[in-house]
């Protein structure tokens, strides 16, 4: 399960009419982003970032929590915590703790079952004398599905720290709400193929994917949708696979053709990388003298890169490189910043690197 850092801003948890909450939240995202470019808004007032890579950069998880806390608190009061999986990480933030890796089940155990946010389930469990997540998690798997249904079964896995998040933890479209810049609207691909044109094949696939989702949790089965964007990560969006439209209930007909994705200014020329790292991967880039390579104020490299180290691993000589391309600010960010992308080729691989605030990250790999 992902090791996640969560920032929770108690004052921003519900939206207001004027949009001030979302504007403040966007500022929080920008502030937090200084430490890691992979910040994901979860819902108003809550965002997460993968903790592993940044923790390596900043000297451990505690140090990272302190830095992010300071950054976010500059905007609004914030709570920060780290745990395995989003559900536990949000609770860790509420308690301001770093739950050690693997310690999530023990951290969740004493909490009341009501925290799962399923009142019916909590009431039922209460009648059975099951009051804490630990007691719930201790119930044998075999009894759960029949007695508590699919939602209960998923809650059971979350309670035991075996699944990362509850289905309704993320607010859909939060990213779009935050999208305040004037970038041209690109049409989104809306569930092409899933239920348009119902066939036997589609129905069979739907059945087995629903079973897989019961096994792995709702976030365990996703699909990728293309959208406009400059970076490989921005050009596609993962969406929880949804059986919402059942095979029988669709209108059928031909599947809509995917809309053309408009050329996006600042885009890295094709071909696109086959691997886009979901977690930030730390990279170090050095020139022939072993000095770190940086991006200057003018968006140029301070010296020619000669070797690359990924995640603190051994130095690999570069056989080629190209760029840098200026990377504009991310969509929620108002502050201009100097960031750039660079393509590098080593004997083993070719990578797309992102430089931001003097640090290099492997954003994607041409795997």
């Amino acid at each position: 399960m992902d090791r996640l850092l969560v920032v929770r801003c108690p004052a921003l948890l519900s939206e207001d009419e004027g949009g001030a909450v979302l504007r403040t939240f966007a500022e929080v995202l920008t502030a937090v982003e200084a430490y890691c470019p992979w910040v994901t808004p979860v819902r108003p007032g809550i965002c997460s970032l993968p903790a592993r890579g940044p923790a390596r950069y900043f000297g451990g998880e505690e140090a990272l929590v302190d830095l992010v806390h300071e950054a976010a608190s500059g905007v609004t009061p914030a709570e920060v915590g780290i745990a395995d999986g989003l559900f536990a990480a949000v609770l860790a933030a509420r308690h301001g703790v770093v739950v050690p890796a693997g310690g999530t089940p023990a951290f969740l155990a004493p909490l009341p079952v009501g925290i799962l946010g399923q009142p019916d389930l909590a009431e039922l469990l209460d009648r059975l004398g099951v009051r804490s997540l630990g007691e719930f998690a201790a119930l044998p798997d075999a009894d759960i599905l029949g007695r508590f249904g699919a939602d209960g079964a998923h809650g059971h896995r979350v309670a035991g720290g075996r699944s990362g998040e509850l289905a309704d933890l993320r607010q859909p479209h939060i990213a779009r709400l935050l999208d305040t810049d004037d970038s041209p609207d690109t049409p989104e691909v809306t569930e092409p193929g899933f239920w348009g044109g119902v066939s036997d094949t589609d129905a069979r696939a739907a059945r087995c994917l629903a079973v897989a989702q019961e096994l792995l949790g709702p976030d365990g089965v996703v699909t990728a949708h293309l959208q406009g964007g400059r970076s490989p990560a921005e050009q596609s969006r993962l969406v929880t696979w949804n059986t919402g439209g059942r095979p029988g209930g669709t209108t059928g007909g031909t599947r809509p053709a995917p809309p053309p994705v408009a050329p996006w200014p600042g885009r890295i020329p094709p071909p696109a990388p086959a691997v886009v790292h979901p977690d930030p991967v730390r990279a170090d880039l050095a020139d022939t003298r072993g000095e770190p390579v940086r991006v200057s104020a003018r968006g140029l490299l301070t010296s020619s890169p000669d070797r690359l180290s990924v995640e603190g691993g051994p130095w690999e000589p570069l056989s080629g490189w190209a760029g840098p391309w200026p990377a504009d600010e991310r969509w929620w960010s108002r502050s201009r910043r100097r960031a750039a992308r660079l393509q590098v080729v080593t004997a083993r691989s070719a990578h797309l690197l992102l430089a931001e605030r003097g640090r290099w990250w492997v954003e994607a790999t041409y795997g």
Binding site: L209, A212, T223, L226, R255, I268, H277, D279, G367
Partner: protein, 239 residues
Amino acid sequence: MFVSVPDRHLSRERDPAALIALAALAERTRPVAASRTRLLPVAPALADLLPDGALRRGSTLTVGGPGDDGALSTALALVAAASGTGVWCALVGHPGLGAVAAGDLGVDLGRLALLPRPGPAWAEATAVVLEGVDLVVLCPPFPPRRDMARRLVARTRERRAVLVVVPGRAGWPEPPDLRLRISDVAWEGAAGGEGHLRRRRLTVTATGRRSAARPTRRVLWLPDADGTVTPAGCAGTGG
């Protein structure tokens, strides 16, 4: 090579080559729902590597090399053509698919299910997916036990699906029906800060069982400048 031809009057035709061409054509134009035939189409550049010139239902392939470079792209290129005809695909165990690259190769993202982090339940999840998805690309997140691998191979055969395994560091203990090895990977386009990565040349060597025991080698652009897969000259000339 023998291709099953369901229509009786076709089997009375004399020319076997015409029969095969017809069967291949029928396979490509067949409505999705009825697609329970033996072969699934692949991109022309890859057809020579496969004993049937197509993916045979029920078979298991592995794709790997000395590094992991090119393995995922090759696996995606293998399933792309069939995906384009409406066959469902799933990618199990790869947390960071570049969806744009997959789409450029021809994978229909609307019929591609991703199970990015199945965790310890990866084998069970793969078995479940094989029930209803015809093309499954598996990147085992943990080293598979032999009995697990064997069960998935058996399930693939039974469900008449195609399992493409990218063993990566985890490995794959079962001998596949066809093994694709990637070597001599070289990027074109980026040198000393000029240009940009344009295309990648790699060599794919296919070794199979029985009729396919003799290695077949093809040099490919994968991805080519437009993100697709194309042949890059004859066998043995790359390097």
